[in-house]
């Protein structure tokens, strides 16, 4: 079941072996681009924007919709496009597996108010960083008025694009509360890489390092005979996290592939270089640099790269500010999770040295972090400077303030590094803008070239992926290398699709208790193959099947008050022996002759022989899978013949 249309913010549900597993619950936040930015302080520019009135003047939504540079924005608290909630009953979900902290932003919407009673599994860094991101996210979205009139279908149809084309706007929801976040996170159970978690005895799930961010994981979901791999947000680049575990993905029946790079044409190395040169260029010209970013993830790599670059570009005196409600803990946490880091950084911990160089930047006062622009920051703020702050959508958070502050000067530059939002859409409500804009999206997730190499290596039988990955991007339709080309072709899905995975479930593992196994008498039917009959009771519990000895009939209680026959224990009877073997024709004819049956006409058929005992007017059909004796009204003869046939067969 696919509940999300966004390939990098997946939310899928897998029903497998009587368990219902949700794989990630990403929140599509691109809907916020339709809203006006929420300034931290009153913005005269935003408040002066004209309201929207339809051309004929019949509809007046001046209070809800504002126009800026030819585009219409909703003037209210931003709303998000939730995963599909009608496709299946969310209360039936047994577990939720989280791959990385980006893919858990919809968690409170799923676990709260839906009747969800299951467990969420995630690694520790994912939980901790995820908690920070959730809180960060929630705190940055202030509670303000909400607008609903524009959602009316009749009105929406009249609006200019892209609002006009937005789908299911009624399902868009406001941000969750702190209480909901806490409640959702209390359902999380921590797991470590390669730790095996049994789900109801039916399947085993286990996280593997995916190399994308601290604690990010892919998941293996397997039963005794089937294996499903879930690959979401993986990276083969040597950045800070532990490298991706590829070998454990081998021999999968189905591989679900999501979270590939959103920027298949942008090489992260090139983009880092681009980022640094644009930054240096602006600072040298006396301008400020604004970097809208999340509070963890790529920023660690950016800071590391800048650490090396600062000296060489003579930027030693330029202040770097990192402003986020969780800036402090984000930088500190990254230093703590040693076991989740790449080998190189792990070894530093034992030296002991901080694994990330940003520690040194902080010590030498080159990098300063603040929870918000209020307080200490305002007194220590020096220009020109570089500011890292959120949110990358430019709709809420401290970044809104800096956009308003620096937007009017062409000396300043805003550098977008997060690939989740179209930078042109993000900038739309700030037009006209004199500030320079540079787009260097850094997405370290797998690109198509790496994926095809990976798939060649792990060789899954079937690949399931979002439909976006099965065709080249719309803007570059000639780039046949920017899509998955596999044999057999991958099974595509889109929002609201339900796919039947191509499993051929044929076997189930059944355990046999030792005492029962002891009582078996195997007989060899052909070399190496022995057969025994089993009489046992099959017990199925937690999807585990066990053969147990038939309980002996308890001694019948000396009671005369037996009222119902049903209470009597079932009479256990020895089962009839099973026959096997082939009746050899020549030998059988000889035996018949010994018993005085001489007139036998043998007819060859497709499956065996028919013996016509002419004198007795009897037919014996000897076939591969059955023997029939057709003998009317002569029971003694039938019995004799039956016994003769039985002589040639083995009994078990």
């Amino acid at each position: 079941y696919c509940l999300s249309g966004h390939p990098t913010l997946p939310c899928n549900v897998l029903k497998f072996k009587s368990t219902t597993i949700m794989l990630d619950c990403g929140l599509d936040t691109t809907s916020v681009l339709n809203f006006l930015p929420l300034p931290l302080v009153h913005s005269p520019r935003l408040s002066k924007l004209p309201g929207w009135i339809s051309k004929d003047g019949s509809i007046n939504l001046e209070k809800e919709l504002k126009e800026c540079a030819g585009r219409v924005f909703v003037d209210s608290q931003p709303e998000f496009c939730l995963p599909e909630r009608e496709l299946l009953d969310l209360s039936t979900i047994d577990v939720i597996l989280i791959s990385n902290y980006h893919c858990m932003m919809a968690l409170p919407y799923i676990t709260e108010h839906t009747g969800f009673t299951g467990t969420v599994y995630a690694t520790e860094p994912t939980l901790q960083i995820g908690r920070r991101e959730l809180v960060n996210f929630m705190e940055r979205v202030p509670k303000a008025q909400s607008a609903t009139c524009w959602k009316n279908k009749e009105i929406q149809r009249m609006l200019p694009g892209p609002l006009k084309d937005a789908v299911d706007v009624w399902t868009w929801k406001r941000c969750y509360s702190m209480q909901e976040v806490n409640s959702a996170l209390s359902k999380v159970q921590l797991v470590g890489y390669s730790q095996k978690v049994e789900l109801f005895g039916a399947v085993q799930v286990s996280p593997l390092s995916s190399g994308y961010s601290l604690g990010s994981s892919n998941w293996i979901i397997q039963s005794h005979h089937e294996k499903v791999s879930y690959v979401s947000g993986s990276s083969l680049l040597t950045t800070h996290p532990q490298p991706m575990d590829q070998s454990s993905l081998k021999n999968s029946d189905v591989l679900i592939l999501t979270g590939l790079t959103q920027m298949p044409t942008a090489n992260p190395d090139g983009m880092l270089g681009e980022f640094c040169s644009n930054l240096a260029m602006t600072i040298r010209a006396g301008g400020n640099v604004l970097v809208p970013c999340y509070s963890s993830g790529v920023i660690y790599d950016l800071l590391e790269c800048l650490y090396q670059f600062i000296e060489s570009a003579n930027l030693g005196t330029t202040p770097f500010y990192f402003i986020s409600p969780v800036a402090n803990s984000s930088l500190e946490f990254s230093q703590i999770f040693a076991e989740w880091l790449c080998h190189n950084k792990q070894t530093k911990v034992y030296l002991p040295e901080p694994p990330f160089p940003h520690a040194e930047l902080i010590q030498t006062n080159k990098l300063k972090h603040y929870p918000s622009i209020h307080g200490d920051f305002s007194s220590e703020f020096r220009q020109p400077c570089v500011v890292f702050t959120g949110h990358p959508s430019l709709r809420f958070g401290d970044v809104v303030h800096f956009m308003e502050l620096w937007g009017k000067s062409s000396l300043n530059t805003v550098i977008f590094t997060e690939p989740d939002f179209s930078y042109l859409d993000a900038l739309a409500p700030y037009q006209p803008l004199a500030m320079k804009c540079v787009y260097c999206p850094i997405d370290t997730r797998l690109n198509f070239h790496q994926v095809s190499k990976l798939l060649k290596e792990v060789q899954p039988l079937h690949v399931v992926c979002p439909e976006q990955y099965t065709q080249p991007p719309l803007t570059q339709s000639h780039r046949s290398d920017l899509m998955l080309e596999l044999q057999p072709p991958p099974m595509p899905y889109k929002r609201c699709s339900v796919l039947n995975l191509p499993f051929r479930r044929r076997y189930e593992r059944v355990y046999i208790l030792p005492e029962l196994a002891n009582s078996l008498v195997p007989s060899e039917v052909k070399p190496g193959v022995s057969v025994a009959t089993v009489s046992a009771v099959l017990q199925s519990k937690d999807n585990k099947h066990t053969l147990q000895s038939v309980p002996k009939a308890p001694p019948v209680a000396p009671s005369k008050k037996r009222k119902r026959v049903m209470e009597e224990p079932p009479v256990t009877m020895a089962p009839k022996p099973l026959l096997s073997g082939v009746v050899p024709l020549e030998a059988f004819l000889a035996t018949l002759q010994k018993h005085g049956i001489t007139e036998v006409k043998v007819e060859e058929t497709a499956d065996g022989h028919i013996l016509h005992l002419q004198a007795e007017d009897t037919l014996i059909q000897l076939e591969e899978d059955g023997t029939h004796i057709v003998c009317d009204n002569n029971e003694p003869l039938r019995a004799t013949l039956r016994d003769l046939v039985l002589r040639f067969l083995q009994k078990l």
């Binding site: 942008a266 983009m271 270089g273 644009n278 570059q476």
Partner: protein, 889 residues
Amino acid sequence: MDSQCVSILPRVCGVLLVSGSSLPDDTSLEKLLDWFTTIAQTGASLLEACPCLVDFVSKVAFNYASGSSILSFTLKLTGLIGASEDGFKVLKVRLKNLNSPRPGIPFFHPSITHSNVQECSVLKLVFNPHHWQEAGLWEDPCLRIGWIQGLKMILQHSEALCFFAQADLIEPLLQLQTDSSLFVASAANQTLAQVLLLCQSLTSVGHNGSKNKDLEHNSVSVETTQNYSGIITKVSEYLNKSVVLKEISQLSGSQQILRLLAMLLVRVGPPLRDTLLLAVMNSLEELVITSCSQLTVPLMDVILAANSGLRDDSVSKQRLIQLLWFMLNMKKPANVMQAAAAVLHSHQSDPALSAHSARVLLLPLDIVTGVSLLDENSTEELRILITEQLKRKSCISIICVCLSNIPQITLMASDRLPCPQRQIVTAVLMLLRLCCVDSSSSSAGCVEVVRFITGNSKVQKCALEALLVLSKSAGVKMVLVDVFKVLTAYLNSPSSDPSVLQKSYQAVIKWVGVCPDLSCITDQLREGFIQAVRKRACDMRWEARDSTVEFLGHLGQAPSCRSFTEQETEPSDVLLGGRSFTVPLLKKALQDPESYVRASSISALAQTLTPSWQEGTALTQEQEDIVTQVQEILFQDSEGFARRAAVKFFIAWLSACSSPSSCWLLMQSVPTVLSQGVADLDWEVKLHTLELAELLLDQAFPDPSPSHPYAVISDQAHRPPIAGQQSDLLSSLKDLVNWGVVSALLCGVVDCDRPVALKACQLLLKLQGVVCPVMGNAADTRVFCQLAGASVMQQVRKIQAMGKDTYVVSEASSEADKEGIYASADPECVDVCEVLRLLDLDEKLSILTQSSDHIYNSPLSLLQDILTAAAASSQPGWDPRQELIMDCY
């Protein structure tokens, strides 16, 4: 030749005879041979110079115990001796000298009887392969290579060729062509070529010079001509037989024969070439039909070599043309492209062939870009084949072959080109757009190929290279804007490799250089370009920064052009807005952490500032800052590169400056640069500093000779020195001293780096030549120079002491000097003219001209080493495994 060498050479020969194994190192024999070769090359007779060699050769020829290296050496030496006709005669008549062997040394091989030996000349014996085969030594490749190289050396004159023919050496030589040792086979190959070339040169002399020759000589030449034709027939038969490829294992053999054939066909003339060609033609045709991929290139070389010298109406020519057409219509696209490239490179005169080759080579570009360069029908079948090939990864190499041949295609006459050159430029631009990662342009051509070429820096570089060349083509200026856009896109692209960036910059320079009119560059284009350059100047990769800085320098030197305002202007003004943009960028680059970038930025600044220096405009504050920064680099930079560039900056300034004396900052900087530069640790910095000194020297004493040979020479140049001239000289000399030129030169001449000392010595000689004849010893003409550093002083004194046992430190300076600078009796002061006279500069120059190891590298040293090693090995307890520590080379 050194008489000492002559005197000890016989002893060395003796040593070599007795034990070849005790040589100081295994290159001794090679060096000995090199020495002999040098003697022979100077025109002197080797035998006259070293008469003992013949004796040595004849003795070794029978001494099988000598070891293969000595035998091989002897064979080569025999060749060297026999290379001259006199030496050859000696070897020919000289019979084996039957000196009794030394006791204990097996002198003769048992199978060779006395009588045999006596009848045999040394020459016959040495070059008789049977002799070595019987001795069981022929198996050693070392001996075979000696034999073949000896043979090659001897084959210089008719006598030798006669001997070669009579001794029937052609057979063993042909056998060695396919020798198991690669070196032997290759040498045999060359020797065979040598034989044929000698045959040819002798027969042609025979033909031309026969009138002047006497009868007797003519009869000999008839005989030899017969010999020659026998040799030629044998060689032709051999070539014909071996050209054909019978099985794939003989591939390398075939390749070698084809290479030999190609070499011969280029070097021999008619009628020998016709003979050879006729002999191998059938085999060549057979080989062409088998169309083996690996043989395409050597085969084309042979066909083209054969084709180039033939008359159009000859039968062979027609057959060869047919072969060429066959090669150009093979079924394997890669081979066809190779063949077409070979045709274009050979400058074939057949217009149809070259036009077809150009079409073949342009075909991949046509298919990939969809820009129709060719008439579709002409290459229909090949188009299908190449289109298939382009869908695979191998398309990269095909496209690169296509692009790398574009220079050849552009050389063709325009009426033979399949399309206008402008069309080719359009196609190359299209290809560049397809290769650019950030571009979203799609082509009408082959879609499958895009996945392979996008972002491929190899294709990008080849295409940019082609674009560079195409800038010269006529009528392409119209597309300048497109070129500029594409190049800006490459400079802007984050995925561009530094080498691609460098090529893009080169292309910008090239296109701007050939376009006199840049009026098409709009503000928008310029803004984009400026942004890209600005960004690259801050790139993380130093290579990118370096290329950017270099580009800025080159652009500063580009010739003037016309801007959109129709005014004559500098390209850097049009593209970048002039010096106000470039100079601050370059100034920043002076602080770059990478020394290469710092060095490049200094040179770029020099290039950028040159025009203003030439105009003699007043220095701005910015320029003064730059000079200070460059000086700081010279004083403080830890890297030699940057310091070298800093000295060159001042050289450039001084040479460009219209009147140096009026530029106060330059005159102020020069003394510091000279004193700092000559004391640098890097010898190249010191050398550049001396170049700066030379420049000052030349400016102080301009060369009196006229600038062109017919100019009128003023009378003054020939007149004896007069007072006015003397005072001019005196003031110039004083200037030089004040600038620190003289002390820099005196510092340099005692420098321990030979190139520095040599340069300083040459300059001092120059100074001496100008100054000393004019200046007398009078006290009023004495100029004193202060020497920096005690060690310099000591060294100069030492030289002086060696030249003459007196000191020239001016005791009388107080009375001689009126200016007061040298008022005190300063022991650090020297009289310039006195020093110049006393220093034995000529002797010093001759010492410095010789390489520093000339003593250890001399033949005498080599011979002595051999003797010493032999003496050491004859000592009791000498362990041959123990390496001799010799200060030999």
